[in-house]
Amino acid sequence: MIETVFLMIFSFGALVGAVAMFFLRHPMRVALALIGTMLSLAAIYAELGLHVIAVFQVLIYVGAVMVFMIYAIMLLDVRDRSFTERFSPLLVAGLAGLLLLLGVLVDGLLRTEPVAAAAVNGDAFRVGAFAIVFMDEFWVYFALAAVLLLVAEIAASAVIDVRRRGGDAADPGKENGRG
């Protein structure tokens, strides 16, 4: 029972963070709200017994991705129209879409039979079993993902290299091509 309460608390936290992202003007605050959501989710994962995933969520998302994002925000302290005007011209249409998609999802959720209650404990998921399955069956995919990551890093450094040299001779065509 206590687990359900925790789940509800953290779910609420995640939702609050997500909703807050809409209204905060400054990207830095948006980023902080997102971090809050992510941490709530990590807590939910831990609650579900997926401790490994929870750790990765904190390490990779909060530790790497969001820190990188914050660096970018600090680098690009541009106060342009996107800063003064929070919302795009499609605000109304976007909100209509929000209602539409939510309606459909809720409708779908209500259609499904109540499933057997999720076992909110650590029994169903063991790190050891996960590791064995992971290395037995999914190592190829993991290797592929690693290659993807490597390629992304090379690409990123290439892009940065362009930027560095582009500072001397502005060449928008080249940048557009890269973009």
């Binding site: 795009s88 499609l90 249409a93 976007g94 879409g97 539409l100 998609l101 459909v104 999802l105 409708d107």
Partner: protein, 629 residues
């Protein structure tokens, strides 16, 4: 069956080689080359035909079959391109190549200096090729290829001077009219194939001779094939194209539209005699159509004023005689008349060509006259041929026409008094209009334009020599007993009454008729046709009807052409083509353009818009999934 040595294939391919060489190189290499190829190869073909004929006779008349290649194997049916030489096709091949070679020689003089000299000989050789294919083909399929091919060559040569719209139209008319007949021919072929299971003519004849084919089918086949023959051989009701076909060069009229191609229908019926022996109703129809055509065409020929038109109607009339003979079962006699007719009608046409040549293109016999002394060779040969066609003994036409009239009266297979009476009347008319032509063109006083008269000249020797040869054959061709020669192949019908006295009486009567026609023509037309004109004054309505060719063209125009044109214009062009086809295509194009314009807006470059569309698509997919899965 004698050994196959490629003789027949060579015979067929020689003119084809001439066509290809002249068609491809003739224009560049000049008239000497064109003459060598265009005239030399037909002469070679004639020699080959002679050789083939000797080989056939050496083998005792046993048919020679040469299979060139297998055209198609469909299930158990094998379609071969094979040549078949028996006495009938040998006679035809000799006529085609012999008269053909002579007319090629004549053309050297007639066509000299024409712009399309090489083209002319190429077409003429092409015609010979297809005609030989028609005559020698063993299967109806090969015959049909030749049949269509000669139609094509005829079309090309009628419209040879295609810059002149009326001539081009005449070619088209011939082609289209022939298509009507070809439809009948094709249906007949289909019917034969479904009935007998083969298209090889010797086997078809055997099958029909077996007597197991139902009478209805035999009659239907006979009538359908005869419809094809009426198209090619210009019989009622498809005779309208032949007079217009005179738009072509005169040697073409002589070769294609008098001596050979138009007799293809006669050849077809004779070749399929096995079918017609089993179909008396179809034979009766043929006899009736034949004699009617002969009579009506002869009456029209009486009043024509164009020298070639007179001869054209005369050709139709003579073809009618041939069909009369076919209809009463005297197939050999029909081929006999075909044989003699080829010579004297070629002589007449070439003589007419010589006259036209001498008069620098003048074709109206009202502006001729008195040419006998100016162009004596032409006159002499023309007179001989006229006498031959009129049936004066002992010239060629006398024998063949008398045989036809005798069988029309006495044949046990549909001979009847009315056929004989109408045929005899036609014989009288034939003599009348032919001698009228002779008198108006060559005798009496000159009615030529002074300008034309000054330039009158005898034709070159290549032309007159050919005329002499043809006139010679017009004299002697009747002395060959062709029906007897063909009898093993085409049996002579039994007679209703075997009376030698009656036969002699009939012959005497026919000679009297011919002489009567001669005398009447001499009296009516001796002085430029003044008496003839006075006589026609009394029968003005009849004259108008004959001069208008019974208004058959006008009838077709009104009953067929106009509704068809209306249908084409309103239904097919305006509704079908413009509204349905063009409309739907333009509609499709418009739809594509419109939708492209709509979808082009989608790619606006706005990320937000793309994301919104993603959302919308997601919603749609989810709804669809939950509805259907």
């Amino acid at each position: 069956m004698t050994a196959m040595n490629g003789m027949l294939t060579l015979l067929v391919l020689l003119p084809l080689a001439g066509f290809i060489l002249n068609g491809v190189l003739g224009r560049r290499l000049g008239p000497v080359f064109v003459n060598g190829v265009g005239v030399g190869l037909p002469i070679l073909a004639f020699l080959t035909a002679l050789w083939a004929w000797r080989t056939l006779e050496a083998g005792g008349g046993v048919p020679i079959i040469e299979t060139v290649f297998t055209w198609a194997v469909i299930g158990e049916h094998v379609f071969e391109v094979a040549f078949y030489l028996d006495r009938l096709s040998a006679v035809m091949a000799l006529i085609v190549t012999g008269v053909g070679a002579l007319i090629h020689i004549y053309s050297i003089g007639y066509m000299r200096g024409d712009e399309g000299y090489a083209r002319y000989f190429a077409y003429l050789n092409l015609f010979l090729f297809f005609m030989l294919l028609l005559v020698l083909g063993r299967s109806l399929l090969v015959l049909f290829v030749g049949w269509e091919g000669v139609g094509l060559a005829s079309y090309l040569l009628i419209g040879f001077w295609f810059q002149d719209v009326t001539k081009a139209r005449a070619g088209r008319k011939a082609f289209i009219t022939n298509r009507v007949g070809d439809a009948g021919f094709l249906l007949g072929m289909f019917l034969i194939f479904t009935t007998v299971g083969t298209l090889e003519m010797d086997r078809i004849n055997e099958a029909f001779a077996g007597g197991l084919i139902p009478l209805g089918v035999a009659t239907a086949v006979g009538i359908l094939l005869f419809i094809g023959a009426t198209g090619k051989s210009a019989q009622i009701p498809l005779h309208v194209w032949l007079p217009d076909a005179m738009a072509g060069p005169t040697p073409v009229s002589a070769l294609i539209h008098a001596a050979t191609m138009v007799t293809a229908g006669v050849y077809l019926v004779a070749r399929m005699s096995g079918v017609y022996l089993e179909a008396p109703a179809a034979s009766t129809l043929i006899a009736a159509i034949g004699v009617l055509t002969a009579f009506l065409a002869a009456t029209i020929a009486l009043v024509q004023t164009d020298i070639k038109k007179v001869l054209a109607y005369s050709t139709i009339s003579q073809l009618g005689f041939m069909f009369l003979a076919l209809g009463v079962g005297a197939y050999g006699v029909a081929v006999f008349h075909l044989f003699t007719h080829a010579f004297f009608k070629a002589a007449l046409f070439l003589g007419a060509g010589s006259v036209i040549h001498a008069l620098n293109g003048e074709q109206d016999i009202r502006r001729m006259g008195g040419l006998a002394r100016r162009i004596p060779w032409t006159f002499g040969t023309f007179a001989v041929a006229t006498a031959a066609i009129a049936g004066l003994p002992p010239l060629a036409g006398f024998f063949s026409k008398d045989a036809i009239l005798w069988f029309a009266l006495a044949s046990g297979q549909g001979g009847a008094a009315w056929l004989w009476a109408l045929g005899s009347l036609t014989a009288l008319l034939t003599a009348l209009y032919m001698f009228r032509l002779l008198w108006l063109v060559f005798l009496g006083r000159s009615r030529m334009e002074p300008e034309t008269e000054r330039h009158v000249h005898e034709s070159p020797v290549t032309m007159t020599a050919v005329l002499v040869v043809l006139a010679f054959f017009s004299v002697i061709a009747g002395w060959f007993a062709l029906p007897h020669y063909l009898e093993p192949l085409l049996p002579v019908p039994a007679l209703r009454f075997d009376s030698a006295l009656l036969h002699w009486a009939q012959i005497g009567f026919a000679v009297v008729l011919a002489l009567l026609g001669l005398a009447a023509a001499a009296w009516l037309y001796q002085d430029g046709g003044r008496r003839g004109d006075e006589a026609w004054e009394r029968f003005q309505r009849l004259h108008r009807m004959l001069a208008g060719k019974y208004f058959v063209d006008e009838l077709y125009e009104r009953t067929l052409q106009r509704p068809w044109r209306w249908l084409s214009d309103r239904i097919f062009l305006r509704l079908g083509d413009r509204v349905l086809i063009d409309g739907s295509l333009h509609g499709l194009a418009g739809l594509a353009r419109w939708s492209a314009a709509v979808f082009a807006r989608v790619q606006s470059g706005s990320l937000h818009w793309y994301a919104w569309m993603t959302l919308f698509g997601l919603v749609a997919v989810l709804i669809w999934v939950w509805r259907h899965v």
